[in-house]
Amino acid sequence: MPQPRWLPYLLIAPSVAFLAAFFLVPLGQTILLSFDGGQGFSLANYARMAGDLNFPTALRNTFALVIVVIPLQVGLALVMGLMLQKMTRGRELVLWIWTIPLGVSDLAAGLVWLAILQDSGYLNTLLFQFGLISGPTAYLNSETPIALFFAVVLAEVWRATAIVLIILVAGIQLIPKEFGEAADIFGASPWTKFRKITLPLLKPSLQSALILRTVLAFEVFAVVYALGGRNFPIIVGEAYTWQNENQNYGVAAAYAVLVMAISLAATVIYLKALRVDPEAQA
């Protein structure tokens, strides 16, 4: 029996309604709120945001994090994915262990690293026991911005590389084995095979992974909040502070819109830069 033409629309209707109610409506409200200066339309909230003491630092820190964390994660995930592909035994177990951080919430991950890196944490205890330091050393305060930055990078890489890995592993598995075998016959080196076969065929997966991770990286919050508190201002952290501590919802909304604009811009850039052949998207 042929299906009625409206059936697919009916089936996706609940999720569309859900998205509209819990995503589009609040999004519209946030945008309106950010332009609400008390007496109608105004850019006052944006001016307040841009003129704030922490704004340039927050912007710089967020971009610095994205620029350092994303390539590290993609590189690591690529290496890990290729290693998995070569494994014949214990592959499932290794994959399972590597993806454990996926099940840990952002804040919990931040707290785990805080327990390691704070003054009386595991790292200092270990260094002290080996006689490498004479007492508690601080890494996570405003006087050690570089150490704090790398602590955040470390925690973020630990926490969120797994999602890139999963996407890339799925992509690697889609590459037909015949291509590799053919390359072997022509005597291609592993590096050539990686460059000429794996990487181009992995482009759709890479694109998805990059978009997903970059958008999430611009929204980083809990890990930074746990490790650095106010010492490492970031955009979402500032939105939180304006909303929760300063109780100025307008400026908080302006920050939220800024994060959205940056995320959209990053997505467009990736879509253009890693243009995927429609045939490869099958």
């Binding site: 709120l33 609400d36 009386s120 508690p136 305060n141 006087e143 106010r230 501590e245 300063n246 109780q247």
Partner: protein
């Protein structure tokens, strides 16, 4: 925009109702911004409310408290009968007619010995009683005894000045290599209260008007010198009891409730002393929490009974012993007080009784701009102390922000500033 606000409030109301714990229609809902940590809330439920009418004790962060009260009022459906919050948190609710006049409850408590000044605060500038003072606290310095040998010659630990505190911190740093002074300057710390209630008024005798005066400039310059001896982790500290207990910090400023665990765990190790003095005197900030009944409360009579219960001498003393907030009524603390609580009680008495004491009240009349008022002080601190910007220039520019805020809210001056006609001026 009005529709938008209504939509937002409706959404928040839905959230508030969904999030509310299940309570029977007869049960009284008591919403409090105070005694929030789980162990303190449990003590309220199990000890302090014992013998009171059946009550569901719910806690909420101060910003959410204001949102929830507003949302319930807009929705026309009250679930909360009784509220416990700080003076400054209840204050913005008075003009929106969220609070019920409770002169009847005040009359019943007239013999309990609540000081008239405190009772007057509970009128929130209106002609009727808006809240009943519930319990009080303040901010003190806690000193670990290890620090005493380093005290500068001639300094009295019970009457320190900011210069002496800086010299003390420097002596400790020189001799031990560690910076042992601590402030709760982390995201949840109450450091802005130190700047508003202790530092600035100690030098200027004012919290707002003299914000950019020469005296304020001197205060900030002194504090910058003091900060060089403050533990670099101060920007991560929220409560000072943990760093005190760990021995990471020897001299800490904080709210008494946030150092109580350290003092009750090892009372022999500590002293509690008044905050330091500046050129004008020793400013300190009394903290008053009050109990108010919501307008159209579903259980008004029961709420009034709970207020009476919480103000009984036995409950007030239990409050001091269990959670470290002190009585507002005339209730002599028993001689067998736990040693840690006794330290706190003595510390408060020394602070309030200091010859050069200046009372600096919590910001009043700012409505929902209290957070931005704190930000003015915290940003000033960040710019002068953490970023090393010139003191004069920072005070001038931050004074502009403060002036705009005062004009916008039209908040008149509060102590220690002299009463003003209209918005409190920034000279």
């Amino acid at each position: 925009m009005k529709t938008l606000n209504q939509l937002a409030i409706a959404a928040m109301t839905a959230g508030a109702i969904l999030a509310a714990p299940v309570a029977n229609a007869q049960d009284l809902v008591f919403l409090s911004t105070q005694l929030r940590p789980i162990d303190e809330a449990q003590k309220v439920r199990e000890v302090l409310l014992k013998g009171a009418p059946k009550t569901t004790y719910v806690v909420e962060e101060p910003p959410q408290f204001a949102v929830r009260m507003k949302a319930e009022q807009a929705a026309g459906k009250r679930t909360i009968s009784l509220m416990g919050a700080l003076h400054g948190e209840l204050q913005p609710l008075a003009p929106t007619a969220s609070l019920d006049a409770i002169d009847d409850v005040a009359a019943k408590l007239s013999a309990s010995g609540i000081p008239a000044g405190l009772m007057e605060l509970g009128k929130l500038g209106t002609s009727t009683q808006q809240y009943i003072p519930w319990m009080q606290a303040t901010y003190v310095l806690v000193v670990r005894k290890e620090a005493l040998p380093f005290l500068p010659a001639g300094a009295d630990v019970n009457a320190l000045t900011y210069e002496q505190l800086a010299a003390w911190g420097k002596a400790i740093q020189d001799k031990t290599g560690q910076r042992r002074i601590g402030f709760p300057a982390g995201p949840k710390g109450l450091f802005a209260r130190f700047l508003q209630g202790n530092l600035v008024p100690s030098y200027t005798g004012s919290m707002v008007t003299e914000f950019r005066s020469a005296a304020a400039e001197k205060g900030w310059t002194d504090f910058k010198a003091l900060w060089a001896t403050v533990n670099p982790n101060a920007n991560n500290y929220n409560f000072m009891q943990e760093p005190l207990m760990a021995g990471e910090v020897w001299i800490a400023w904080d709210h008494i409730a946030r150092v109580k665990d350290a003092l009750t765990a090892e009372p022999d190790k500590y002293l509690v002393v008044p905050p330091p003095a500046g050129s004008q005197g020793r400013a300190y900030m009394p903290v008053v929490a009050g109990l108010a009944i919501a307008k159209d409360a579903p259980n008004r009579a029961q709420a009034a009974a709970v207020i009476e219960h919480l103000l009984k001498p036995a409950t007030q003393i239990a409050t001091a012993m269990e959670v470290g907030f002190f009585p507002v009524i005339n209730a002599p603390l028993p001689a067998d007080l736990p040693a840690g609580v006794k330290l706190l009680a003595d510390g408060i008495a020394k602070t309030q009784g200091a010859k050069d004491a200046i009372v600096a009240l919590l910001p009043v009349g700012l409505g929902d701009k209290g957070g931005e008022f704190n930000k003015v002080y915290f940003d000033t601190f960040q710019r002068i102390v953490l970023r090393g910007e010139p003191v004069r220039a920072v005070l001038d520019s931050q004074a502009e922000t403060l002036r705009a805020l005062m004009t916008q809210t039209a908040a008149p001056c509060w102590a220690p500033d002299k009463p003003s006609q209209g918005a409190c001026p920034v000279t």
